[in-house]
């Protein structure tokens, strides 16, 4: 057994070397790519123009030194925050409504000690909806939703919620699947009904984990608002897209600073609440 494992390891090692050599040969030999071309005169000029623009060198109106643009950016930041909270709120509510029948150990009855044939049907339906929802990226969801609603933060929030509901559902269903069934069986033998088992056995064990996942997804949603904003879902992302199209480089700097602040806040909150839960 040991010898076979060793030969497989050596094989994969040589295959790894061969792959690296072959890919470099393809990049340099076949495609005639040159690393130095990246630093050609034009590229350097473009880059320096862009970065100078970002820092406002030689520009008349510098957005991040302007009070009005700051206050405008502030309202956009609040909008983005609202969008992210709405998104995580929607997906959390729907996740909570669906997650329990979506756990395998609930479907086969080992957790709740009651077996019903329809549990598997419900399980399958919910799991398929999870897969469907998370297989489609936020951006695509946003494009579809914007098609129906008029642009704004609500469709953005719905698009983000649609994508994250599948992710949260899957993660949280797995948390339920990992719970120790022994305390729960004992609750059942102490005479607890289904709802009571849920309240005393399942929820206390899974909620801290759920909260960690919800906060983490909230953080991710906050960052992804920029992506859905690109297709008109409002907030900082939409303004970012507009500034980019109008070559208002200093505005981009301002918006990036706002993003930075948002992410730092989200980081701080999730860190603190995770500490609190433990």
């Amino acid at each position: 057994m040991k010898k076979r494992k060793f030969t497989f390891l050596t094989f994969s090692f040589y295959a790894f070397l061969l792959l690296i050599a072959a890919s470099w040969y393809f990049v340099i030999g076949v495609k005639n790519a040159s690393f130095l071309e990246l630093f050609s005169k034009e590229n350097v000029a473009y880059a320096s123009k862009f970065f100078k623009g970002l820092f406002g060198v030689g520009q008349e109106e510098i957005a991040f030194l302007n009070r009005d643009s700051w206050s405008y950016a502030f309202t956009l930041t609040i909008e983005t925050l609202q969008m992210s909270i709405m998104a995580i709120g929607f997906s959390t509510i729907v996740m909570f409504l669906t997650v329990i029948p979506a756990a395998r150990n609930v479907a086969d009855g080992t957790l709740t000690l009651s077996r019903k044939w329809y549990r598997w049907v419900v399980f399958g339906l919910i799991r398929i909806s999870y897969i469907f929802s998370r297989a489609i990226p936020e951006l695509v969801w946003a494009m579809i939703i914007i098609f129906i609603f008029k642009p704004g933060i609500l469709p953005g929030a719905i698009a983000l919620a649609l994508h994250n509901f599948g992710i949260l559902g899957k993660l949280c269903a797995e948390v339920i699947e990992d719970t120790d069934s022994r305390p729960i069986r004992n609750l059942a033998s102490a005479g607890a009904g289904r709802a009571q088992i849920l309240m005393y056995g399942v929820l206390p064990t899974v909620l801290p984990q759920f909260l960690t996942y919800i906060l983490y997804r909230w953080e991710v949603i906050m960052r992804t608002t920029i992506v859905v904003g690109f297709v008109g879902a409002g907030g900082l992302g939409q303004e970012f897209k507009l500034s980019m199209s109008f070559f208002h480089y200093t505005e981009i700097t301002l918006l990036l600073i706002c993003y930075l602040i948002l992410v730092i806040i989200a980081d701080f909150i999730s860190e603190k609440s995770r500490f609190f839960v433990k």
């Binding site: 102490a190 005479g191 009904g193 309240m199 064990t205």
Partner: protein, 250 residues
């Protein structure tokens, strides 16, 4: 009146795949008896307890609890009044405060809203505190259960049984993961409480010493069959040696 016989076991058998776990086992338990199930590993002790707890169903034979077949106790609320279980740890919800684990013994009598409300403001707190006092943990009521030691957790499980007040207590290796001093303590408490509350105890044990010390009747199982069934003081060392003897290689 068969009220004296709280439990009748009639010819029950249970097979796993090809392995025989229990083969036509029968005995009768009277109310208030303290029974220790002993025997080597794999003799069927846990299987028997799980059958009595209705976690498993027998392949054949029947179990009669207080004059009625056990299948008539399908409602877990009614069953909880007759049969309570304590295991070797892991039977408490670690994330809950101790008092909620104790109050879980009352869930059979509580409705949905009372149980929900109790998670925020503990209901019937006096009774729970009394139970905790009896097991010697009155000051731990609001601690997180998983922060308690193994022995303390078993005491909490006992307090929960005090709240549940079943007529029969099934104990599956209640002291397997405890050191001798704690084990003595828990068994002493379990048997004392059972005597005070006129409960019947059926406990599976690894240690013959504890079985003889705390229980009135020993039932020995070997390879799924009854090896002996005697009052504790009539069991001889020779019989015990036979019970735990390894199969001789031929």
């Amino acid at each position: 009146m068969s009220n004296q016989n709280i439990l009748e076991i009639n010819q029950i058998s249970k097979n796993y795949e090809r392995k025989i776990a229990l083969s036509s086992l029968s005995f009768i338990v009277e109310k208030g008896e303290l029974i220790a199930l002993i025997g080597p590993s794999g003799a069927g002790k846990t299987t028997l307890l799980n059958l009595l707890a209705t976690i498993l169903q027998p392949d054949s034979g029947e179990v009669i609890v207080d004059g009625k077949p056990i299948t008539q106790y399908a409602d877990q609320k009614k069953r909880a009044k007759k049969i309570g279980i304590i295991r070797q740890q892991f039977d408490l919800v670690g994330q809950l405060a101790v008092i909620h684990n104790v109050l879980a013994g009352r869930l059979a009598d509580w409705g949905f809203f009372k149980s929900l409300f109790s998670l925020f403001i503990p209901q019937e707190k006096q009774v729970a505190m009394k139970a905790l006092e009896r097991v010697g943990l009155p000051d731990k009521a609001y601690e997180r259960t998983s922060n308690l030691s193994g022995g303390e957790q078993q005491r909490v499980a006992l307090a929960r049984l005090l709240m549940q007040k079943p007529e029969i207590i099934l104990a599956d290796e209640p002291v397997a993961s405890l050191d001798p001093a704690r084990a003595d303590d828990i068994l002493d408490m379990l048997t004392k409480i059972a005597k005070e509350e006129h409960q019947t105890v059926i406990a599976s044990l690894h240690s013959v010493e504890y079985a003889r010390k705390y229980f009135t009747r020993l039932i020995a199982l070997k390879n799924g069959e009854l090896f002996f069934d005697l009052p504790a003081e009539h069991v001889t060392d020779e019989q015990l040696q036979d019970l735990y003897q390894l199969k001789e290689l031929k």
